[in-house]
Amino acid sequence: MTLTLPSGLLAAALLFWGWRTELWPLALPMALILELAPRVHWRWALDDKALARVIDLTALLWVGALMLLFTRYLNQPPLATHLYTLASWFPLLLFPPLAIQRYSTAGTFRLGHLFYSLRRSRSELAGRLLKLELSYFVVCLLAASVTAQPGYLLGAGPLLFWLLIAARPRRYRWPLVVALSLAACLAAWPLSFSLHRLQLDMEDRFTEWFQDWLVDFDPYRSSTSLGDIGELKLSDRVVLRLKPMSGDRGPWLLRAASYNSYFDGVWLAKGVHFTRLAPQGDGREWRLSAAPERASRHLSINLELRQGAGMLPLPANAWRLKQLPAGELQLSSLGALKASEGPGLVDYRVEYEPESPVGEKSGEFDLTLPRREQVTLQRLADELGLTGQPPAVAAAKIRAFLLGQFRYSLDLPAPTPGLTALETFLLHKRAGHCEYFATAAVLLLRAAGIPARYAIGFSVSEYSSLEEAYVARRRHAHAWALAWLDGHWQDFDATPPDWMSFEEKRAPWYQGLGDLWDWLSHQFSRWRWREATGDEEDNRWLWGLAGLLAVILFWRLLRRQRIRRLPVKNPPAMIIRPGAESPFYQVLEQLALQRGSRPQGETLECWLRRIGAWETPGMADMAGQHQRWRFDPDGLPLEEQQRLANAVALLKTGPARFPP
């Protein structure tokens, strides 16, 4: 079965392709050539050999195009660009056979013309006819789509629906077809954009997953995005849950690691050494330092540990951890806490006292400036008048400088030639993300003679009513400075405080769904690690899920049973009689019901005359057609069958036309 395209559709598709690919000069004559074919009254009488040569010529065109693109690829990768270029040439490369098909007496190709292996074959496959119009139409739509120019659906949609409406099965009425086409278009419009967004999100997810596996918080080294170009992308996945136990409302800076040496965008922890802690009490209690004199505050932190190991984010001056079932806990000399041999999910309690400093002292690296940025930093310190100032005053000036003259941005601009990324940030761009601010703050503090370190972890301030806890997303990962002020380390966050709302605005529209998924995953993790976390109280949701599955299973079983119960009906025995399908029988049945059935031996015409139905307009014609359908050896032509059906339908549905 071959499908004939409506007149003008191919030309429209070609013009659409020309518009999209800016190949107007080619598309216009090609469209004209195709559309003029029905109006031209001559055809080429091409034999099989000539038709095969047309295919050979097309193959040569393809080879030439491929060689050209391959040469270009050698000079200018990547390959994908050239493949898209090739795709945009498809209508041009396939035009010769289509034009020949339209202008040849054959009017079609055979499959044997396309394949050398079938050229001499006389098989049914080789002789199968191949009309190229429909495939060419699809190719035009495809070729028009490879450019990034917007408005594709506005052209492709109507063209496709023109085809569908023209080729629709006649058993359906056109309003249904139009309604379906419109529904498809209306659904495709937002879905295509969602697909685009989904791909971007999947890329983020993949990057994040990759980072999760390969780049965890490293107590020795932290690579920043300083100097990277592009746009910083961070995902919305919830990675930490926090519940304050003493009525705090946050925000909290939870430090996972800190570093003391900077070089070219990388922070390192030099001279760091780890001390293994011994568990106390029930084996899940860990003392980080001596108990403070004042009453402590409490936090409950819920965190996933990959393979049972990782850095534990802690608030400043944490001194004791409880309910932490880790096999081993090590405290670094820079204050980072590393857990190992633990479960996949930990839910520990932290006791801390912000006002009572505990922990490590200042070290030799905490005042070192990087050699490359040293001059710039000293000059800035001089300009800000930091030299000779008390530490608290100098720190306040630095904070005011960074908060007042810099703005938060996730764009990663290229560094100014001759300057490092940090210098570009400090001197020219004055915009960046938290890593820039934290690094600048640490190094300016050091330039002012204040020992400082670079800390990374999470800033937690978002409350989730779904989770009933404060949550930290991946994009809430934060960097800040630690300053040695008043004899202890203090958090010194110089990032503009609006950074959280800035990040919030960039959240995708479907974040709610992502949150729901995170919550479900978390519930599953809690159930999975319920023994380790001591969280065995609430499995109702699982029972609910099991109940739902049971209902679905039951419904399916019931449905299957219902299908089985249906007996297999044998087709009724039929006697094949010519004209048995004549709709005039319905009229005869109706007349027999109204005026008595026709006795045996009485002809149809006699009976109709006797009961007075013969005089009904059209009855004589209908009866004649009916008799011919039944008894004429040639049968009744289809047109007359249709006419008879229409007349019967009119008689049945119209006003009663039988005489009383």
Binding site: V138, S145, Y152, L163, A187, R577
Partner: protein, 426 residues
Amino acid sequence: MRHPLLRLYAAVYRPGHFLRQHLTPLGGWLFGGWIAAGAFGVNTRVGMTYQLFVLLTVLFAITFIISRFGQLTVTARRQLPRFATVNQPLRYRLALHNSGARVQRDLSVFDELRDAPLFSATLGHLPTYRQWSRWTTWARGTNSVAHALPVLPPGATTEAELTLTPLRRGRLEFATLSFGRPDPLGLWKRLFHQPLADRLLVLPRRYPVPPLHFHDGRRYQRGGVNLAQSVGEEDEFVGLREYRPGDPPRRIHWRSFAKRGEPIVKEFQDEFFVRYGLLLDSFAAGVDDACFETAVSAAASIATAERGPEALLDLLFVGDRAYCFTAGRGLGQTEQLLEILACATPRRDQAFSQLFSMVAGHAPELSACVCVLLNWDEERRQLLNLLRGQGVEIVALVIGPLATPPESGIRVVTAETLATELARLT
């Protein structure tokens, strides 16, 4: 079907088969476009191909869902002939009845066939996918081609003509009749299956053969021919005569004995008539299926050749055991021989010597024998000598090509030369 590779073939074949059955021609082309759009639209940052992909996805999804609604009120009955022939298009009729209240149009129909059990295990080696695919179609017996149905008015009964081309001999097992109803946009066909089991015997392909005339005349038929009708000289009653000592008492004609008062016996005459043998060599060790098909085709052509009203034809071959079927003189019709040949299978696990004893038993009754051999070797040469030794005139065809030429008088035929050689057969 236990080999993992064959399972993999089946897994690859199934989706394609599903799409071929369920997509309309328009749907097929757009489905190709959908695949291409998926390939080019993988990167949504480059180009807008993903929009075409989404648009086609939505179209296919919507139409597929909509096509699942509604029922079909058309039933059909197949009117098959008794026989078909390999590679010869067969036309048969379908009686259709629309019991619903709306006109049914744009319907298509095709027959679904079962794999014949006879052929389900004959693929010996591990095939390539292409070979497996062809073999699957061949084992099923024919390609299922969808036919468009005429418009069916409400309550109407009509007929449609369907065509199929059998690809192999043997029985074709029709399982169901599948009606295809297109969706409103004409992309998918929803299939409605009507169980409608039928069988059709496909006879081997036959070629014209001239009338069989051999030089040797009639032969004595020991014991006569059971069930033979009164044509020719048969071992039947020919008259009465007086009793002679030594006559068996069961031949006494008791009525005449009572009438005459002395024993009268019935006299019979021995049977002499022309009996031809058609020997089909089914020992196909080392011979491929195509050669065997050629041999069966040759045997079928010879079996249908004109041989005179009084001649018998014995078909001799070894299947699961040795068979001898006789046709002619009221014993059986030629079409019964063809039915037997339609179901003949090659033997690869038995020795050729089995044919010896059967041929030796029948040789004295045969006037001439046409031997269709699958190979030429010492055993086959001895068989022909055995027949010659019994005075049987021989015409031998060996299905070739052969590495070594046989002795003179033996004809080597191939699938290509079969028609020519049979036309020259005397």
